[in-house]
Every structure is written in C-alpha cells, then in structure tokens.
C-alpha cells in the first residue's frame, strides 16, 4: 500500500523456483508418502502434508482432488519405487543362487531403508485393499519381477541346483515374508522378546533368510537326502 516493493536492482528479481507445477506436485507426493506412512490413512493430516511440502492446502486439492486420491497416489508411488529398485537388480546376469541371494538382500534392505513402503502396505491392508484394487496398472508394475524370477528358477533347475515345480510368485512371497515381518513388526518384537532389532540382528536375519530359501530350493541330495 505505502511503498512499492523496490527490487534491489542488482539481485536476482525473485525466488526463481516458485510457480513450478511439476516440482510442487512431487513435493506434495513425497510429503504425502511420509505422512500417510507415519500416521496411517485416518491419522494423516492434510495440514501436515502441506507443511511438509511447503505448499498451501488448496494446492494439494487442486492437484490431487481429495485425501483419498492423494493416498492412492502415494500408495502407487511406493510400488513404483520398489519396482525401480528391483529392475536394477539384474538377476539374469547372476548365477541362480546368487540371484536369489541378491533378491533377498535387496528386499530386506529396501524395507529397512524406505520404511514408508511397509507402512503403506500395512495401512492399505488394514483398510481392506480397497484403494489398491482401484489402481489400474498395479499388476503391470510388479509383473517384470515375476518374469525375471521365473527365468532364474528355470536356469537353476537346468543347472541342477534347484528342484523343479516351484512357483515364482510363491517364492517371491516366501522371500518377502522372511524380510517383511522382522522390519514391519520391529517395535512389538523389541518389546515382547526384549531383543535388539538393530543392524547386526537384521544382517543375521538376511543371512538366515538366504540360507532358508536356498535350502528350500535345493533338490534332494541324489544318494539319499534328508532322513
């Protein structure tokens, strides 16, 4: 009202990076991923997401529609992130056994390093999976991994190190099971079993899981195996 906003002539005329739609979108999505995974669907606050993303609430609504749609976008993003990691695993250029070891290690590591993945899955399953059912392309997101895993199993069978008849989806679920629970339930395990859920302990979980899966995949020893 009084003084015009004198721009000091020699400086940059404005914070350059404002008004960048794509950048705002990403900021909101990442803030939502964190908030939803920390607080769950009902507990998440749009206010908190706006604050984290450094934008106003109306912008969130104009980009994503409503809380549910934002939650769906965040859930999808969680899957996209793990797929990107798995794509880089390069299973086909490893020996079958190393491929399995690598997949186990990556899976556990991803769960630990990107804790919102597990949290989002837990939240979504608590909600009965209604949202993920509505995401069109979720099937495609995961299928490359299953294909790779199937090929790895076949190579192992051909090489005589794996027994035949193992379903790649079942195998993936086994691996995920062994990696998921110790991370997902770390808080309750720590209290109930009074044990330290820390790096070394998780490293042992990883080694045990690798051994478990490989023992399960191994064909029976030729001349009279177990018992």
């Amino acid at each position: 009202m009084t003084d015009a906003p004198r721009p000091s002539p020699a400086r940059k005329p404005a914070p350059v990076r404002l008004r960048d739609a794509e950048r705002s979108r990403r900021a909101i999505l990442e803030a939502a991923l964190v908030e939803f995974s920390e607080a769950g669907h009902a507990g998440a606050r749009i206010d908190a997401i706006a604050l984290r993303a450094g934008v106003s609430k109306p912008l969130i609504y104009s980009y994503f529609g409503d809380k549910d749609a934002l939650y769906a976008a965040a859930l999808r993003e969680a899957y996209v992130q793990i797929r990107e990691g798995e794509r880089d695993l390069d299973l086909e250029h490893k020996t079958p056994e190393d491929a399995i070891r690598a997949l186990v290690a990556f899976t556990l590591q991803h769960y630990v390093e990107k804790p919102w993945f597990i949290s989002m899955l837990n939240t979504e399953n608590l909600r009965g999976g209604t949202t993920i059912r509505a995401i069109e392309d979720v099937g495609e997101i995961q299928s490359p991994l299953v294909t790779q895993l199937g090929a790895t199993l076949e190579r192992g069978v051909a090489a005589g190190v794996f027994r035949p008849g193992i379903d790649p989806v079942d195998l993936y679920i086994m691996i995920a099971s062994l990696c998921y629970f110790p991370v997902s339930n770390a808080h309750t395990l720590r209290v109930v079993f009074r044990c330290a859920i820390d790096g070394p302990w998780l490293a042992r979980r990883c080694a045990d899981a690798q051994e478990m899966v490989l023992r399960f995949l191994h064909p029976p020893a030729p001349g009279g195996g177990h018992a």
Copy 2:
C-alpha cells in the same frame, strides 16, 4: 426411570449387578478389539464401539478412562488370546519335528481365524510401538512359548535331527514371518499378483513353511552336504 430396584441395603451386595458389570466390560473390550483392528487407532470410533458393545459411551469412559487406555487394553487382549492358544499346543509331548510342524500350523491358523491379532500388531507397529512399551506384563505373556521352543530345539539337537546353535526367538520369528505376511498382506497380494488367497493356497503356504523351517533346522547331511 423412577425408582431403581433398591436392593435391601444389608444383604449381599447385589451379585447379579456385578455380573452385569463384568459382562459390560467384556462386551466393550471385544467391541474395541474388533473396531480397532478394522479401523486402526485413529480410524476407530468410540461411538462405533459403544454401538457394537450395546452400551453407552460414558460407560466406556468410566471403565477404561480414555481412547488410548481402551486401545491398550484391546492390544493386550490380543496377546492374551494367542498365548492361550499356544499354551494348549503341548509341544513337549510331541517329537521335535512334529512340535515344529504343529507350531507352524497353529500360528498360521490363529492368524487366519483371529484376524484382529494381525491387525492390532500392524496398527501398533504403525504407531511406533508406544503403547505396547507401556504394557507392563507383555514380556511374561510371551515368555512361556520361548521356553517351550528352546526345550524343543534342545530335544531335537539331542536326537540329532536339528543342528545346534539356533536361537529359539529367531526361530519363532522365522515361523511367524512365514505365516504372518501371506495373511497380513492378503489384500494387496491378491491384487498385485492376481492370485487367489484362499484356503487351499494357505494350506500350501503352511506345508511350504513347515518344510522350509525343518530343512533349515536339519543338520548337514553327514557324508558331504550342500556344497
């Protein structure tokens, strides 16, 4: 509305009334268990719990204090229920291998039949375990199982069917892992892998888990094992 049915003051202090009070308490607790496990902590509604339990909201407050305290009671109840099941397993009168098989089968079955157990654990872990940390006797609730499992392992080692050096807590976590994930994440698995998460599929999960655990426990074959 007018006069309460005045019990003559000097007699026994209305035992029927006490029964009702205890029944109300149980009704509230069970309603809370269902509501919290279906909706999570933030999503659960005191109104809904009152409705399910068939009591008024003030009664809930007078019995349990507030929402958090009710949640804590429900969480504790979930642990109590699974402990009661495990206590009846009678591991010590089975062969070591059968004991392991029985524990795996029971664990999966309990997760499937009492879905609020998994839901409560998920909810509590999403919340960072703050509540369970405050429950005094949770350690004792779980410890009998660990003792039994340790004894079973020792018997197996003595009998030469298990290798030594396995920690009973780690073993229990492995078993729980294999049983937990397919049930906990049934909704997302169904959609992402387009597979039927049904009775037969779960039965195969059970068999696979039993085999996995036993193969893991078996000592290396005497004359040259796995590479």
Copy 3:
C-alpha cells in the same frame, strides 16, 4: 480445576431448562428458519444458526443430520405455519364474498408478518424445488385450504354472486400472486419505481387485490354487462 462450583445453597441448584431436547430442537428450527430466509441456502451459516439458537454446532448435526436436512425442516416449518393460520380463517362461516376478502387480507398479512415464508419459497424456487419435492407430506399440508376454497366458490355460485367454472387452485394462485409480488419484491420496487412500500401502500394493495378478485369472480351483469 481449583474450586468446585459451589452452588449457593439457597438458590435453585442449576439453570433448570437446560438439557431439554425438545426445547433445543425448536430453538434450532426457528433459528434456521430465520437464517435460511435471510441468507438463502448457500449463504446461510451453521455457525450463525448455532449462535442464534444458543446451542453448539454438533447439537445441530445430531438433531438434523446436515445442512440440507436442516434446510428441509425449516422449509417444511414455513408451510406448517401458514397452514395453521389458514386453518383459523373459518371461511365456511362467512359470506362467500367476505370469505374471499378475508383470505386475501390474511394472505397479504401473513406474507408481511412472517417474512421468512416468502424468503423460503423464493430460495426453494431458486434451487429448482429439489428439496420440497422430497418432503413427503407437503401435499396434505396445503389441501385443506383448497377444499375450503372450493366450497366457498360453490356457495358463491349457488348464491348467484360468483360465476361458475373457476378452479379453486387457480383462484388461490391469483390471490397469492397479488399478495406475493409486492411483498417479495419490495426492495427492488422501492428503488426502481421510487415509491414507498409501507403500511398504507400495502393496505391499498390489499383493497385493490380484493376488488380485483371479486370483480373477476362476479358473474356478468344480467342485462348486458361490460361493453
């Protein structure tokens, strides 16, 4: 927190009339009638209604559901009020011509004295009548009047003072038309025609309307009427 709310021993122990559900309901309904008629549907504020009624907002929601339902209740109330006035008109004990004069006078008077009636009708018609269509018993509310008016017309025809063939609904609409517009549109008329819309002017409107309606109802003069 500090001092307990000492009830001064000799006084009445509390504001007696609080916690009276029916009384709260009426207060809300009347406040809503005023607020909706002053501000329209979109312009009305639940906050303002709560303030006017002297209750909290949640109470409004617990009694009426949501804004639309409250609006519907207020609209219905407006009709109930005018019906009660018409019921007391006692048309059947007046001469047919006096009955018409009385109905005209009452109608204009009601529009002036209960301004929310016109405002609610205007609001509802602006909204396309969607709400009134959903009120079940609106037809019955108005029908007694139509019956009475039909009887009055018949008596007039029999007495030779009214011509036959007049539909009572059409007649009522004529009367309403003449009374409605000068009240409903007082604000714009005042400005556009720079005329005083006040008591005397409305009294002339009443007299003119009575004359118009009666002239319209009169049978043609027996020996060659108008032109």
Copy 4:
C-alpha cells in the same frame, strides 16, 4: 509462449484485439447472468462463470473488479434486457385495451423466456436490495414504461373504457404480480398443488390475468354496476 504475433508498431492499434476484448466482456456478463440466476449470489462460483465464458478467472477480475461488482453488472443487464423488450411493445399505437392485453402477454412471456430475470430479482430481494440501490441509472431504465402506461391509461379514460384515478405504477405492479408468481414459484406450486405448470396452463394464466386487469380498469356499468 515464445514470441507474440508482434503487430507492426506504427499501424492501426490492432482493432481485432479490441473486438476480442469486447467479446470477452460480453461472454463474462452473460455467463454471470446465468450463473447468478441459477445459483444465487452466495451460491454462484467465479470458477463456474470463467468456465462458462471460456476465459480465465483473472480476466474476470480485471474487467469487473470483484464478485459483487460482477453481480451488480449482471443485475443491471437483466433490467436492460426487459426494458428493450418493453420499448418495442409500441403501446401508443394500440387501443387502450389491446395495449393492456399486449403488456400482460409480453410480461408473462418475458418471465418465461428469460428466466434469469425473475431469478435475479428474487436473488436481489433476498439480499435486501442493497445492490440495486447502488446502481445509479436504474430509475431511468424503468421510467419510459411508466410514462407509456400512464398515457395508455389516460387514453382509456378519455375513451370511456377505463375508470379514472388508477396509478400507472400500481397498475404495472398488478400486472407484474399476476405474471410473476406463477413463473417464479412454478417449482413449489407444482409440488404443493400437484398441478402441471406448463404451456397451456400458463396461457390460461395469461388470459385470466388480462381479464382480471381489464375488469379492474373498466368503469362501473352506467346503469347500476356491482352493488
């Protein structure tokens, strides 16, 4: 985005652009008229107006200032439109009785064909007439009609077909009353009286109104009129 189509600077100052500006103004005004009349003042959305007009929201603000100013412009436009229609009625070249008939017919027809006129008047009266009071030239907009109507009445009195002493403004209000209510309140009438508010019904309203007004204007029959 890159270069605007630079018009060579010295030539005529881009007349095409000016046409576009005027067209945008009209588009906004007409969109506003529709939106305000469909939704009322509080219910109208600037977003919706921008969408209907095919322009951006900031353009609306740069042309009209704010929502209230746009509403005022739309209200004024409604009056301008009906004045244009009335100007073409050419009352002075018709017999006094035909002139009245024509005015009644035109009024009803305009209300039916330009529904935003009635809606805008209702909206403005619901708001207490605050806006129209601020429109400077509203008086002039309506006065030609009153002058014409006064002349018509005088001609009728001179011809002996109308009685003297009728105020032209009062007469116009009577006519407007009879035409306004059945159109304005069509939605509620349809439901409350369960009658069809359609073309034929409105045509009968028109004929009845014409007859009513003429009967009212007629001088008392020379040899003993109505009582």
